[in-house]
Structures are given as C-alpha cells and as structure tokens.
C-alpha cells in the first residue's frame, strides 16, 4: 500500500498525464529533493521556485488566469500565512468580476502537528482557510482519499486548498490506489527516488486510474448509534481508534471523516446527529474561532431539539505555538485520551 506522500505523488502524476496539469511548483518541489516529504519526486512538470511564498501564489494565479492548470505548494502551512491577501483575492476573483474570471488552481500545503515541528512547522490552517470564501478546501486522512481528493481538485474550475496532514505523510492505508502494485516494495522501487545522485533517475509510474473523491462528500468510517464524532485529517485517526477501544466498554460511536471542509457534508452530519442525539467535533487547530465552532453553531441552530447533550469541541489549545518538547506538544493538541474521555462522557450524559 502506498503511503500518503506516494499517493500525492501518484495523483500529481495522474494530473500531469491526464488532467492537463501544467505546473507543479514550490520551494524544493522539483529535483533533486522532490518535496520535503518526497511528495513531488519524479514528476515531469515539477520545478523549484525562489523562496517566496507570495511569489508562488501569485505565479499560480497568473498561470491559472492564462489558461494553465497549476498546482502550487507552500512547504508548510505555517508559511502560507503571509499570502493571506492573495488567497483572499483568488477566492474573490470570480465573485468580484460577476463570474467573468475563474482561477482553476490548486494550492497544497501540509498542516498540523505531530512531527515535532515546533513553533513554525506545526500550525493548522483549517479555521483560517474556511474563513476565505470562494475556495474549496479538502483535508485527507488516508492515502486513498489523498489521491482521490487531489484528482478532484485538479479537475476543479475554482481554487482548491489541499491540506495534507504532515504527520500522516508516512502512514499507509488499507486500500490500494487503483493501479498501484500490491507489493509496497515494488511500488517503492518504481517511484521513490534513490539516495545520492538522482540526476539520471526517472520514475516508472504504474498505470493509475482516475479515481476521485467528490469534494463535499464525507465518509462514515465507523457506524454507531450512541454518539457522533466528526473529525478530519490527523485527529480522525485518533477518533477512529478511540471509537474502536470504547466499543469494548459498550459505547457505540459513529465516526465521520469530513474530508472536505468547504463545501462540507452537512447532510451526513445531520443524519448522524438525528440518529445519535450527541455530537463531538475534533480537530487540532486552535480552539478559539475554530471551524468546529461553526459546526456547533449550525448543529444548535438546526438540530437543537434532536440533541440529548450539548455538542462538544475538542481542539488545540489557544496558545501561540506548539512547543518542541514532547510534553509541550502533547499538551497543545488533542491526544488519544482526550478524545476517548470526551466520547465516553458525552455518550453517557443524560438530559
């Protein structure tokens, strides 16, 4: 099974071969490195840029304006903050021109904690990004979705923000990407660049298929009747594990992987909450003005009389950064025990 970095690489290869992707670029995206997480190794359309995030986003907007189909990368989400006004501009271009211009571009930038990335390599971007209308925003939690969401993003007529969790770049899924060989060692020989001199190396791509995950569609990763848990990205895995463990205690949690943050699958959340009457939202972004707060507001507005307990949010602490020390990082973002105890207490709460 491919890991997430390989899945992204294969999706980009599929994009440059079949979806008209003309440029895949950013800091260290081209060879010899092929991305700090190896996610862009061996691609034909990849190239290295100056260390200039505003220039990268501006370049993507210009290329998209001129009919090209760019995929731009900001190396870490922590560095995309200095492009916020350009992101706002990309998001409002269609609206501001009354539908005359559109920007078919993808920006990908790895998010979140979990790699001991300290203050400048651990930020989340979901709250900030969902505050900018005009973008579609996706956040995969496994390699197959990472592939399928990126394939969808590269077919969009609108700007798409693609946010792979840094900490999941090396995880393997349980499902094969359509076309990838079953043996992961074989896949590695085909598409992982060798150490040392890479100047003559070329990837041998498997015959991939255009598998796509529709933007806006969530996924129920575990069915349950007692409490709904909605998450995405890295914390989705914590939620799925917690639900599995709590099943032994007789707690039956339903876990939803939102996958797309905008548009998002409200129908799926709504149906689940109507079934369980209890909902917990989990993510690792800082908790004040968190995207989960929006989901709670909507839950209260539309589902108040369905609820058996107040909706809850588990999120990152509202502190200026993630400290490097293990103790500091763990205290800053949700941990398995936090999620487990929140699900447990919510499931057992009686009106």
């Amino acid at each position: 099974m491919a890991n997430m970095a390989q899945a992204i690489r294969m999706a980009l290869h599929y994009g440059e071969k079949h979806l008209g992707v003309t440029d895949i670029f950013g800091e260290d995206v081209g060879m010899p490195l092929g991305g700090v997480f190896t996610q862009t190794q061996g691609l034909e359309k990849s190239w290295n840029t100056p260390l200039d995030e505003r220039g990268i986003i501006g370049m993507a907007m210009g290329l998209a304006m001129a009919g090209e189909r760019p995929v731009a990368e900001i190396q870490f989400a922590d560095y995309v903050y200095n492009t916020i006004d350009l992101l706002k501009l990309a998001g409002n271009t269609c609206w501001a021109t009354n539908g005359d211009w559109n920007l078919p571009m993808v920006v990908m930038t790895p998010v979140g904690a979990g790699i001991r990335g300290s203050i400048y390599h651990s930020h989340s971007f979901d709250a900030m990004m969902t505050h900018i209308p005009g973008w579609k925003i996706v956040l995969p939690s496994n390699p197959l979705d990472a592939y399928g969401l990126l394939v969808s993003a590269m077919q969009e007529q609108n700007p798409v923000m693609y946010l792979p969790p840094k900490a999941l770049m090396r995880i393997r899924g349980e499902e094969l990407i359509p076309g990838e060989p079953e043996d992961q060692r074989e896949l590695s020989k085909m598409i992982d660049a060798p150490l040392g001199d890479r100047s003559k190396w070329k990837a041998k791509w498997p015959a991939l298929e255009g598998y796509s995950v529709p933007i806006g569609k969530g996924k129920i990763v575990r069915e349950g009747k007692q409490v709904t848990v909605v998450s995405y990205g890295r914390t989705l895995l914590l939620c799925a594990d917690a639900a599995k463990e709590l099943a032994a205690e007789g707690i039956d949690a339903e876990v939803i992987d939102l996958r797309s943050l905008w548009p998002y699958d409200w129908e799926m959340i709504q149906a689940s909450v109507k079934k369980t009457g209890r909902v917990l939202f989990v993510n690792e972004d800082t908790e004040v003005t968190n995207f989960g707060e929006h989901l709670i507001r909507r839950t209260v507005d539309e589902l108040f009389y369905e609820l058996l307990a107040p909706p809850r949010l588990i999120a990152g602490k509202f502190v200026p950064g993630i400290g490097l020390s293990d103790a500091l990082e763990r205290a800053s973002v949700p941990q398995p025990e936090d999620v487990k105890s929140a699900i447990r207490s919510l499931a057992l709460e009686q009106p």
Binding site: R54, G58, M59, L63, A96, N98, N158
Partner: protein
C-alpha cells in the same frame, strides 16, 4: 507669455503622424471628461467612492493604443491598477461602463455593482481584475508571462502600479520571478510615479533617485521617462514593448506623471494646484504646431461633456443589483 516646454518633445514630435496626435488628444480629453464626470457623480451622491487617474492621460492613452488586444496567451495580459481609465478607453472601451460601476448598477460590466470605480476587469481583453490592494498585481504578472513564453508569439504581460506601492514585497517578487536566469519572462513592469502615496510624499519614503534603478540589480533593462508628454510616452513605450515582445525578457519603465485630483474621494477629489496638466501642455503644443485649433479642441471637450452627461442620466435610471445576487458567482458557473 512663454509656453511650458515639454521634456524631450521637441525632437520627438515630428516623428509621430498628425492623425495619431489628434487621436491621442481626443482620447486624452475623453478620459479626462470621464473622470470629471465620475467625480461629479460621486459628489452628487451617485456613487460612494471615486478613485481614478486624471493627470496620467499622456502616459495611459499611448499605452492603450500600443496594447495587443485579445483573449488568451497570444495577446497581452494586463495587470492594471485603478488609475487607468484612459488606457481602457484607448483600447476601445465604452465609457458608460465606468459610469455604471460608479453608480454600482446591476449593469456594471466589470463587477455587477460589487466594486469601486476604476476597478475594471474584462476577460475578453485579458484585463485581469483591478484590485484595491496595491501591488498584488505584480505577483501575478509573472504567471501570465510564463504561460505566454510557453505559448510562443509576441504576447506580453503588462503590469502597472504606483510609486508608493513599490515598497511592497510583491514588486520585489516581480523583479525576482521575471528575471530568473534561464527563465526570463516577458513582463513589462510599469511604475507611474506621481510622487505621492495617498498623503505621504515619496521623497520621505523612497531612497533611490529613480525607482527604475532597482531593476538594474536584476539585470533588467529599465528607464525613467517624462510621462506627462504623450509623444515621449508613446515612443518610449513602443521601444520597451518591442524589446519585451522580441527578447521575451522583462523591462521596467518608470513614468513621471501628475496627480491632478489627489488620491481619491477620500482626499476630496478637488483640483490640486501646482501639478502640470498634461492635456493643457499638449494642447498648447498642438495649437502652436497648427495640428489643431483652439476651437476644435474645445469642440472635442464639449462633445464628450454632453455625451457623458447624457450617459450619467441614463445610468441613474438603471436597476441596482438585487440582494440575492450576493449568492451568484461565488464559484464559477461555466465550463
């Protein structure tokens, strides 16, 4: 009484054909009357905000005449700022669109009543949406230029901004990205230098004598010109454009211009004393050389004044956008 002398005009005037000079004069006056009408509309309550480029006509009209107009990478991409109605009119745009945008009607062809005056946009002519944040356009121009270089042909990306905005990092980004060794891009960077950033004098903020000098460090050809003379502007623009079109490399052109009505309605939109008026200066020259008479030039102004007065009346009767229109075009609805 002695007439003001135009820098560089003495030697260059004869090389432009009289009919071109007449055409430029006509467009300069048309653009000025349009801006005056927009200011009047604002002052009469037919708009919320005015910003525009009266004073820059001598540079902006020649620019519009020299643009390779069309859609797609074979034609010029235009990353303008909000002082370029004269360029747009010189390209052949009808002035009523600007009035509709000022009145923020549903018929506003650039934004459907959503954006400020002077914030033009026209995909059919490769005119990228004009934005209020200054200088963001400099970050985008290398993108369209890269597509054009790849496409082949002689289309170029033209990006314009003011002197104050060159303090922003996006201006530096444009210098860096358009001059990467082996990947030079066909970008014509233009700075119209009017010596002001809202109310702040440029000589209190800008160290270099000429902004164009900054391009030298990047190996980018550059020049500072007198932008208040349409003949000089035409010839210098033509030379810079020829270079960018043929060599597929960037050029930075700095044009010294006037700002006749201040920054925007925020600073009153009243005529500022002491600035050279490029139209008056050009008219004296046209009259002295016998190309146009005073009465012919007065007739041009009167005709446009009457036309735009009628347009303003028409626009006043046109519908405003509906509240539910806010939900349209958040995402692209075409294919």
């Amino acid at each position: 009484m002695s007439r003001p002398r135009l820098v560089g005009a003495e030697k260059s005037a004869p090389s432009l054909a009289p009919d071109l000079l007449v055409r430029m004069h006509d467009l300069m006056v048309k653009a000025r009357v349009l801006e005056e009408r927009l200011i009047q509309m604002y002052k009469q309550g037919d708009g919320y905000f005015w910003i525009g480029g009266p004073g820059e006509e001598a540079f902006n009209v020649p620019l519009g005449l020299l643009i390779k107009k069309g859609q797609g990478p074979a034609f010029d991409y235009l990353h303008f700022h909000y002082r370029q109605s004269a360029t747009f009119l010189a390209m052949g745009e009808e002035p009523i669109g600007a009035l509709r945008q000022m009145k923020n009607t549903a018929t506003d062809p650039y934004s459907g009543g959503r954006n400020f005056a002077g914030h033009f946009s026209k995909r059919a002519w490769n005119l990228a949406p004009v934005t209020s944040p200054i200088e963001v356009q400099y970050a985008m121009a290398p993108g369209t230029a890269m597509a054009q270089k790849r496409h082949g042909g002689d289309g170029i990306s033209i990006v314009t901004g003011g002197d104050a905005g060159t303090a922003e990092g996006d201006f530096a980004s444009c210098l860096v990205w358009s001059s990467r060794p082996g990947n030079e891009l066909p970008v014509l960077m233009i700075v119209t230098h009017n010596k002001w950033g809202i109310s702040t004098a440029s000589d209190t903020q800008q160290g270099p004598k000429n902004i164009a000098d900054r391009a030298t460090a990047f190996g980018i050809r550059n020049k500072t010109i007198e932008g208040n003379d349409p003949v000089v502007a035409y010839q210098e623009l033509q030379e810079a454009m020829d270079y960018v079109r043929k060599e597929r490399k960037p050029f930075l052109l700095e044009a010294r211009v006037s700002r006749l009505f201040g920054h925007s309605s925020a600073s009153g939109a009243n005529m500022v004393e002491g600035e050279l008026d490029c139209i008056s200066a050009f008219e004296e020259k046209l009259e002295a050389s016998g190309i146009l008479t005073r009465s012919q030039m007065d007739e041009v102004r009167e005709r446009y004044t009457a036309e735009m007065s009628a347009m303003a009346k028409q626009v006043r009767e046109e519908p405003q956008p509906k509240p539910e229109d806010i939900w349209n075009h958040i995402f692209f609805e075409g294919k």
